[in-house]
């Protein structure tokens, strides 16, 4: 018997309606429910990480004022904050959350091709989160090695959590990678195998493209993290010397010989740099769709956008050592990696131009998702441009390991993707829940988040110029820093606390909408992509009722000249669209 894709099992649709609460919401194999599970879990751990950052900021803004912060738990805070935000929040939310929700709906399929594996992926992810959280409560607490977990320090006694914390951290990462691989294989296979009729690759919305390429990056890059985690575990538990050289730690010889800490860094960043794009590419894709929809205009330069995503994805594998310019690696590598790194700026810049040109001669609705999308362009330009400082090997000499780096990657990898996350949640909220959110609250949430975060990170770059090193528990008195540097740090802390507090608005909005929100129109934004054309809102298990959609056009038929409506959904055949005169596309 050959395998029959779910897409072909029209006669089995009744099986798609699980009845009990448990099968419907807990052990669910519906990609939409799994997406929500992923999303809620990721946002939950993200809130923990947000709390940790507030603790760090309290110490940095007002040193030695809080008795519950000391150097030991401070370094645990920064480590767990970074690790959670990068891996357990952003990666899981974009791919496990949005990837799960959008791929089948946008591609016009009933579900992921392997729903059981999909469910398993979520539960294994949850297990990794539980192991991660458990590490807070073991003797010695979680690891404080910094999210990069550089050996030798990560497994030597000068670092917090060296007994249990680091073991659980590495174990949790390994489990996460397993979960991600299960999910990732599913996403790739679904995109390749389960698209509906007529949905050619080049008709896919850019969201799917971004998620698709990011998944491929993840599948190929996460093994590097797994390799380094396994080797570090062995170095820690049975004293092999993969990464550990002969050293004298606190006057004691721990018995290692000849390993290479730099080897770990190569492996780590071979994963770590693509990881940046694992987060960024889905954000790129999603923001493209948001801009196009709310500007009522086709995305400008679609093909260029697709190729830029692919080019960025490919290039991201040969730029990793720009994190290591001052690591002591062979300095001649600097020439190569500076060049590749700055080359990657070109496709990235093209994406920015195309987003802005999408606005040009559009008819821009400044609804909440659009506000977030435009703010994303602003912060991403800022973060991208500061990347040109750090990528250029010479400028990295004074700036690496300073607040400039912290400000840069938070702008480009923290603020920008999070703005997209919020934009995307507001955008698809009516589809996910079937209810509208509160526009006014959403706008307040936007303004406070956008202005607040800029007020955190713009000044932070300047502390970096002045030479404030990152990962310092306290600066103390230094001769080369003006005293006002501490005032600026206090300002940054106030801004950070403000932003953290205003996120309450988002949750109020969520609760309000779930309880009292007006019922949403199935396609409130007049969008063209398939997820807005489902027969039910929110879509039921199986998504499409009895008949799968057919795709007849690309995802960006907005304001096509000569048509009555300013959008034509992807599933409308050329003959059915209501032309007010000539047929579209003829003159192109």
């Amino acid at each position: 018997m050959g395998y029959v894709a779910i897409a072909d099992r029209d006669h089995e649709i009744e099986h798609h309606d699980p009845q009990t609460f448990i099968t419907k919401y807990v052990w669910s194999q519906d990609h939409k429910v799994i997406a929500i599970q992923y999303g809620v879990t990721a946002i939950f751990v993200g809130l923990i990480a947000l709390g940790l950052s507030a603790m760090m900021r309290l110490q940095l803004g007002f040193p030695d004022s809080f008795s519950f912060i000391n150097p030991e738990n401070y370094y645990q805070f920064i480590t767990m904050h970074g690790m959670i935000m990068v891996i357990y929040l952003l990666t899981a939310l974009f791919l496990g959350g949005f990837g799960n929700y959008l791929i089948p709906l946008m591609c016009g399929s009933r579900d992921m091709v392997f729903p059981f594996l999909n469910m398993l992926s979520y539960w294994v992810y949850l297990l990794s989160v539980i192991i991660l959280i458990a590490s807070f409560f073991v003797p010695g607490g979680s690891t404080g090695a910094g999210w990069t977990l550089y050996p030798p320090q990560a497994i030597l006694p000068g670092t917090p959590g060296v007994d249990w914390g680091i073991l659980l951290m590495l174990a949790s990462l390994a489990v996460f990678i397993v979960a991600f691989t299960m999910g990732g294989l599913n996403y790739v296979t679904t995109v390749l195998q389960a698209r509906c009729r007529g949905m050619t690759l080049m008709r896919m919305p850019l969201s799917v493209w971004g998620i698709f390429i990011a998944t491929i990056l993840g599948l190929l890059a996460f093994p590097a993290l797994l390799v380094s985690a396994i080797m570090m575990l062995l170095d820690k538990t049975i004293a092999t010397s993969f990464f550990m050289p002969a050293i004298s730690s606190m006057g004691v010889d721990p018995g290692y010989t000849g390993g290479s800490p730099i080897l770990f860094q190569h492996l780590f960043w071979f994963f770590g740099h693509p990881e940046v794009y694992i987060v960024a590419l889905p954000a790129f894709g999603i923001v493209s769709d948001l801009l196009s929809t709310h500007a009522r205009k086709n995305i400008f330069g679609y093909r260029m956008m697709v190729w830029a995503i692919i080019a960025i994805g490919g290039l991201s594998f040969i730029v990793w050592a720009h994190h290591m310019y001052v690591s002591g690696m062979n300095p001649y590598f600097g020439f190569f990696f500076a060049t590749t790194t700055l080359i990657i700026a070109v496709p990235t810049a093209i994406k920015v131009y195309n987003w802005v040109l999408t606005l040009w001669e559009g008819n821009i609705h400044l609804r909440v998702p659009m506000l977030f999308a435009i703010a994303f362009i602003f912060t991403f330009i800022h973060g991208g441009l500061t990347g040109l400082f750090l990528g250029n090997v010479t400028i990295d000499l004074p700036l690496s390991d300073t607040y400039f780096v912290v400000a840069h990657f938070h702008m480009v990898m923290g603020v920008s993707p999070v703005l997209v996350v919020f934009g995307a949640i507001y955008h698809w909220w009516p589809k996910i829940t079937g209810r509208m959110y509160h526009e006014g609250l959403g706008k307040w949430h936007f303004w406070m988040t956008f202005l607040g975060t800029y007020s955190i990170y713009l000044p932070m770059h300047y502390l970096g110029f002045a030479g404030v090193p990152r990962r310092y528990f306290a600066m103390g008195n230094t001769e080369f820093l003006p005293e006002s540097a501490q005032d600026l740090n206090a300002w940054i802390t106030m801004s950070a606390l403000f932003v953290a507090a205003t996120q309450v608005l988002f949750f109020i909005n969520v609760i309000w909408s779930l309880k009292k929100g007006p019922k949403a129109d199935p396609n409130p934004w007049d969008a063209t992509t398939l997820e807005w054309q489902t027969p039910d809102n929110p879509p039921k298990h199986g998504n499409w009722g009895h008949e799968l959609p057919e795709c007849h056009r690309w995802a960006y038929d907005y304001s096509v000249p000569g048509y009555k409506d300013d959008f034509i959904p992807q599933n409308v055949p050329a003959s059915d669209a209501a032309p007010a005169g000539r047929d579209h596309g003829v003159e192109h």
Partner: protein, 219 residues
Amino acid sequence: MEIGLIVLAAMLATLLGWILKQSFNTQPWLAEVVDETANQAPFNARPKLVALTAFLAVVTSFFALILSAYSLRMELGDWIPLTEPQLLWVNTGVLVLASVAFQWTRNIAVREATPRLMPGLLLSGVLTMVFLAGQWIAWQQLNASGQYMTSNPSNAFFFLLTGIHGLHILGGMYVWARATVKAFGGDVDAVRHSVELCTIYWHFLLLVWLVLFGLMLST
């Protein structure tokens, strides 16, 4: 890192070539240019095969990265090459036979309408278990001669590589066991596809082993 990069570049180039073929010179906004029915063929083909291929790419990346680490670590001062146990030659031969057995089973599964799969499945499984046992004995031989995992980085890599390779085979054995149980129950149709996928997986792991073994012998 060169090994990792070369392997990765090859995989990415393949992917890129395929995507370019799909997208080159299409102008997606021109509805008329795309033949509405042209893209049916790859659809609903064999998702499990596609997923397995993707998974093999992941595993390739994984092993390529360990080998990159191997080649980097090898250049450092404290590296003493390990003399691999002779038994590994026998093990290699057994793994080749297991692969051949799977190929034979697969051919039967594909060709015949009501294939008898049990002999082939059992033979492949037993040979594979012999391989795993052989690897285990090779470990014991090394330990008995005082060559522990921690004695030298080359030892550490030997145990790591063989261990991870063995774990991958064990994973395959899980699928094999499920298929065998089903085939024993007579549900031959359900097993056919599994046998095909297992065969690909076994060939792949044989290839990985040959690369690992060759590399360890040559250094």
